[in-house]
Symmetry: C3
Subunit: 125 residues, 3 copies
C-alpha cells in the first residue's frame, strides 16, 4: 500500500519557486525507505512541480519566462502555466536517498500566490 | 503487483477534451483502494493526458492554443502536440478518493479524432 | 519494494535522441514482471526523457525544434529544454510487455553531449 504524506507551507509572492528537495528527502529518511518510488502531486490549479537545475530562486525562473513568452492568454494565464509545467513528478530512491544529479532540485511553482499550499507525497513501503 | 485496468471510449471530433476524472474515481472505488498510487497511460501517438483546472470542453482548450501558437510544423503537428502534453499522469489516493483540488480535472486530449481510444490504468493494491 | 536498475550509455552528439524502448523491455523481461508499473528517471540536468511517435533520429527531433523556437534564453538553453521535456516517464506492464502503441517509442533526449549518461529505472515486483 505504501505511505501517503503531506508537505505544507505558505508562499509569499505572486510567482515563486520553492525548493522542496530537502523536505522530500526528510520523508524518505523518516519512513526508512531504502529502495523504492516516490510520487509528488500538487492539488492546486495554479501551482505545479518541476525538477531541473538549481536556479537562483530570487531570479525570475527560466521555465516561467518561456511560458510567459508563449502564452496567448494574457488575462488569466496562471492555470495554463500550471497545466504546462504539470502537477506531478516521480522520483526513485536507492540506498535511502533520492537518486538525482547533485545539481537537480525539485521545485514547487507558485503561479498565483501568496497562498497556503500543500504537496501530497506517495512513497512505496 | 497492483491492478491494470482499461478505460475505452470513442472521440467524436478532430480535437477534443474528454474529462476522465469520474471514470478513474470509479476504478478506485471498485477496487476498494483506500490509500495508494494510480498511473494513467495513453497508448496512442496522437492523444495525451493532462490534469488542470476545469474548462468548458466545448471551448477550444487553452493548452492546445498554446501548443498551436508555438508549433513550427504546420503540416503534421498532432504527434508533436501529443508529445508535449505527454501520454502519462500519476495520481495519489487517500481515504478512498483521488487527492485533487476540487477544480482539478483529468483530461484526455484527442489531437487526431474521431477515433476509438483507450487509457491504461495501473493502481496499487 | 520493487527493483531499481540502471541503463548506461554514451551519447555521441551535442543534441541527440536515443531510443531506449528495447532496453526497458529487456529489464521487464529479465525481472519476469508480468503486470505492474515502471518509472524512468534521468539524473542529469541537461538531458530528459519523452514518449512519442517513432521519428527518424538522424533528423532534428520535432520536440526540440519547438523548444528552440520558443526559448528566450539563447546563451544557456540546454537545462531549460531539459526541464520542459522533463526527466521522468511512467509506463505500465501487462502480460509481460510494456503497454504502448506500436508506433510509440521511449526517447532519451541529450541536450549537451557527447556525455556518459545513465537512466534509473524503478519496476514493481
Amino acid at each position: 500500500m505504501g505511505f501517503v504524506r503531506e508537505i505544507a507551507f505558505a508562499t509569499t509572492a505572486k510567482e515563486q519557486l520553492v525548493d522542496i528537495t530537502g523536505r522530500l528527502q526528510e520523508l524518505v529518511t523518516e519512513l526508512q525507505l531504502k529502495e523504492g518510488f516516490v510520487c509528488v502531486y500538487v492539488p492546486h490549479t495554479s501551482a505545479a512541480v518541476s525538477i531541473h537545475r538549481e536556479v537562483d530562486v530570487t531570479d525570475r525562473p527560466k521555465l516561467d519566462e518561456m511560458l510567459e513568452s508563449i502564452n496567448p492568454d494574457k488575462e488569466a494565464p496562471h492555470y495554463t502555466k500550471a497545466a504546462l509545467v504539470a502537477p506531478t513528478e516521480v522520483l526513485i530512491v536507492k540506498d535511502g536517498k533520492l537518486v538525482m544529479d547533485p545539481d537537480q532540485r525539485i521545485y514547487f511553482y507558485e503561479f498565483d500566490g501568496p497562498k497556503q499550499r500543500r504537496v501530497i507525497v506517495y512513497l512505496t513501503d
